[in-house]
């Protein structure tokens, strides 16, 4: 890939009280893409992000953001990267704007620059109208959006969002996901963790699935589906009026068919190529009424569930 790798970990490992939480994690995220870090609760997503942000020390291995070591040069990393914690909190008695102003000040952004920036960021997350309200009047969804505004105020090159949609209603989730999808256009690479697949599928360019601290699958979204599930094979389902043993024999002889299993009126055929045309021809030629032929597409869901069950 000709893309520039901006987030990179090498054998990143973290142990808490002797329990390995993150186990030799190797992760690469290219510039201006959205990377989805998937995994069940306790898979090590948060710990990985904390190590990448330099907020917790790895037991071994390195994490680098734009070439800066997160453990040794945390300040440089924190200047480049923004972090939205899982349970984001704000100073309740301050207004949304004051909260953002405080963060801008901590980032040494002068008042002349920060005021229009805060205005713009609040507008971009849809909180332009309520910027002067104190945060304790905010709903969960508004707080989460303010959290994203809070990350954006420092104009990060990389944004780490830890479960940004947790605890939100569907409307809130959509808003957040749309916001995330727009970040690469503004020059921000996004790494976000989630255990909800469909939202990751919507915006991510590539994903990594963590299970028990290990990265089990990683790659571009369209590439990894089939590989992970069937080791490069296809699965075709053929529904007929009544399948005969003879028909199964014929299908088995088609070149490329690996396995045929009958299940009621449905034949599950494993092949190494898309043989739908050949199979339907064989069915019709054998005088069996063909009801439908379906090639099984593997959604991320299947992959995800597979690793969940293994884990």
């Amino acid at each position: 890939m000709g893309k520039k790798i901006v987030v990179k970990t090498e054998d990143l490992t973290k142990k808490y009280d002797g329990v390995t939480v993150v186990d030799r994690l190797n992760l690469e995220v290219a510039e201006n893409e959205v990377f989805g870090l998937l995994g069940p609760n306790g898979a090590g997503k948060t710990t990985s992000i904390l190590m990448l942000m330099g907020l917790t020390e790895p037991a071994s291995g390195t994490a680098k953001i734009y070439g800066f070591d997160s453990t040794r040069e945390p300040l440089k990393v924190k200047r480049l990267a923004g972090y939205l914690p899982e349970k984001v909190g704000f100073y309740d008695t301050l207004t949304a704007r004051e909260n953002l102003r405080f963060i801008a000040e901590l980032n040494n952004i002068g008042a002349a620059e920060s005021e229009p920036l805060i205005e713009q960021v609040l507008k971009s997350v849809g909180l332009g109208e309520v910027g002067n309200k104190t945060v304790n009047k905010f709903s969960r969804g508004m707080k989460q959006r303010l959290g994203i505004a809070d990350v954006l105020v420092k104009k990060p090159k990389v944004a780490f969002l830890d479960e940004p949609t947790a605890g939100l209603d569907p409307e809130g989730i959509n808003q957040i996901i749309d916001l995330i999808g727009n970040l690469p256009k503004m020059g921000t690479t996004v790494v976000f963790s989630s255990h909800r697949l469909y939202e990751v599928q919507r915006v991510c360019h590539s994903i990594g699935i963590l299970s028990k601290g290990k990265m089990v699958v990683q790659g571009a979204l369209d590439e990894i589906g089939r590989d992970a599930m069937t080791e490069g094979r296809f699965r075709i389902e053929v529904e007929t009026a009544e399948p005969s043993p003879q028909l199964i024999g014929v299908i088995k002889k088609i070149k490329g068919v690996i396995k045929v299993a009958a299940e009621g009126n449905v034949l599950r055929i494993t092949t190494d190529a898309d043989l739908r045309a050949e199979i339907s021809k064989a069915v019709v030629q054998n005088g069996v009424a063909l009801i439908q032929v379906k090639i099984q597409e593997f959604s991320l869901d299947d992959i995800y569930m597979k690793y969940f069950h293994e884990g």
């Binding site: 904390l50 907020l55 300040l75 899982e86 984001v88 100073y91 309740d92 405080f102 963060i103 901590l106």
Partner: protein
Amino acid sequence: MLTILRKELADYFTSVRCFVLFLLVFIASAVAIYAAYNGIREAAIDPGPVFIKLFTTTGQDIPSMAVFIALLVPIIGIALGFDAINGERSSGTLNRILSQPIYRDSVINGKFLAGIVTLAIMIGAIILLVGGYGLRMIGVPPSAEEIVRLFIYFVSAVIYGAFWMGLAILFSVLFRSLAVSLLFPLAIWIVIGIPASVFNPYINFLVPAVSDSVGVQLMVARLSPYFLFEEATQVLLIPVWRGYALLTSTTTSSMLPNPLSLDQSLLIVWPQFTVLIALTAVCFAISYIVFMRQEIRST
């Protein structure tokens, strides 16, 4: 760090907590002035400067200003410090702030400094209130020496408060629960922060064999920051006072009850001062080290 200091100060001054503390301060000042009003006439007959007697004169049943300050200051210190770190942790703001490009220690430094500034403002307010109102009441202006004595007293009260705040911050670093980090310093305050007169029977009870010796009693009592502060207060505000030194009855009887000069008083309280500062520094240092090494995970 200045940003954090400013924000913390703004937080303190707009909080209900601070309002309550200020209210407490004003009530205490009013009561103390009333006490001084009742007692100052007899007190003025004794030798020594009159103005600072405002702070040590007791009414019939009302304790003096100095006693009020000694009781109030720990409460203020604990109230300011007990949720410094774990409050931010539980509200989820701590990791958000630590992910900004600042050093981790500037968070705790900023909080500690903001606490000291708040303490200084409160204690300064009490002293100025009592001083100002007392000036109207008795019409005797303070001498330069008295002003210096009051200022040193003010500084020692701030250090005493800083000790309790440092202790509270330490527990707020160590424990995640707000209730625990509030109760711990309060419990410690009740055990070691109560007046020495109440304290002595405890020592008698705990170390019966050695308690006959005044020296041992004194040594044990001086472990308590309250006792140290009380001693410093007495010496600074009552120039005639010579501290709880070990004196035989012959020395006491031949002693002239004249006020000590400022440098002599300072000489007496210097060890107390040093120990108070050291205790504060130890509390802060431990919380600092623990905080720097602590995991930031909120869950």
